[in-house]
Symmetry: C2
Subunit: 339 residues, 2 copies
Amino acid sequence: MIIDCHGHFTTVPQSHTRWRERQLEAFARGTAAPVYPTVSDDELREAIEAHQLRLLRERGTDLVLFSPRASAMGHHLGDRAVSSAWAAACNDLVKRVCDLYPRAFAGVCQLPQSPGLPIDASLPELRRCVLELGFVGCLLNPDPSGGYWTSPPLTDPSWFPLYEELVALDVPAMVHVSATANPAFHGTGAHYLNADTTAFMQLLQGDLFSRFPTLRLVIPHGGGAVPYHWGRYRGLADMLGTPGAAERLLDNVFFDTCVYHQRGIDLLLDVLPTANLLFASEMVGAVRGIDTRTGHCFDDTKRYLDAADLDDDRRTQVFSGNARRVFPRLEARIGAGQH
Amino acid sequence: MIIDCHGHFTTVPQSHTRWRERQLEAFARGTAAPVYPTVSDDELREAIEAHQLRLLRERGTDLVLFSPRASAMGHHLGDRAVSSAWAAACNDLVKRVCDLYPRAFAGVCQLPQSPGLPIDASLPELRRCVLELGFVGCLLNPDPSGGYWTSPPLTDPSWFPLYEELVALDVPAMVHVSATANPAFHGTGAHYLNADTTAFMQLLQGDLFSRFPTLRLVIPHGGGAVPYHWGRYRGLADMLGTPGAAERLLDNVFFDTCVYHQRGIDLLLDVLPTANLLFASEMVGAVRGIDTRTGHCFDDTKRYLDAADLDDDRRTQVFSGNARRVFPRLEARIGAGQH
């Protein structure tokens, strides 16, 4: 069984995206948002079957942990009410895809964050998605300001209410920023990777998991710069007076395999324990083209893993075992005979 | 011959650091800065011989491109006059070390940047350092705001006066941020690597080198996340409508080898052309401890290169040839019989 832990609904029907535009226009004008449009099942099937479902079948993936388009979360836009309505609309659309293709998609939700807004405001939507919609995880944006990094580190107590809820619900969070409003940063080429690196270092500086020993965080995009600089992090742990802290984080911190060339995947597999790596492609996502060197899509990360030097046990861990452990609510879906 | 292209004067005499503190206190009070203290040659010898020079000899390095402590540049502190006086004091101290040990150190200068200040204000100090003090390069801070990223990308025309001067002087710039004032970012564990990644992506989005074909930029810390995610950058170049642009950047963009474990160095050597890699240790720098796995210092990067699968020609390029080409003003020093 092959589980892709990181897929986004990047191919939403146009009416959904247009509603977001109108919602933000209404906010700017100070008027009420328009009524959310009717999106038919056929529109959703069209959006999914030509893209995610086709790729999933072509590449031999069984199940995608499916979340709203991360770059469109746009937590820096609007206010609490705007973010709340937008998160609900995005999560509902993901839920409908999961219901249309229950064997292929499990939901991961967007939180209605806003810069400066206490994270408590995100908890009702998290609970709704997990308890009512059957979602198995959430995206946590460490920088809802969109590239200005005005929030405190993830180890700050202001985030604790979210962690308490994640622990209570037994769901992990993927630490994933949205689009950047800061022109210094390209989104998928800088801000995403920087956020991954930043989040890991915040966790290394803090002591979050002694307080939340069962909390699990997934750092996407192969962990940003972290595996490549693993020696730096091990050394920084020593300098911070916490030798071994980088390795200890691996009890609670996991990395996906969204690294788009063989050499990078090989390093990831060599440097970090197999138990910490979750197969993912980020498709249809950041990099959509074909690598002329290989003749295959950059984001067809399963090919790199297939070509890597992994025995059957390690392969099973990366392709499904670790995802089932980190996202335990998946078991109910899988165990219900959907696979 | 072995040239380390990235060393900082991190072990400055206390009087130098205390003067900086008093300078900033005076700025806060609105009074004049104190007179810069007398620093004796013996103090400098003591600062250098027990640290940089000892390590350099122990590790078998011949020459270090030596710049002021990057984290102390603090461009976000004070104003134009404060940054100007501080840069001059730091550069003068580096010059004295280079004069005391002319075979071992060549100067790389700090620029007197300030957030929002036109880069033109940095040019007199750059010219002084290169033409009067014999320095061979400079540090360019892409984020003088200290972690808030308020400057436009490096491809913005506001930076062009600096590039024109660098081209005219035939010296490269190492793109290197300073300390972060933003609590979201750890300095050496996040901000430094993020800046490397950000700068490369800014260059990939722009077209700087068609305007400045002989400009050379060095991205430190092994290029941040870039080599590990090289497939992502190749794919993003396609998506930006500039296929091959990542590879073309390598005519002008170089990476150092400050990556503190064997596996990372091996990836760097495999992924990027040898001609783009310059040996460096960042010593005495970011990570000062001993790796208990190897029994050697994390930042003894020469050991990783010695252990890497490199033939003599590639080894010579990385250890000296590339540095001599990228920093051509080194030739005058080396050719003058100092080696």
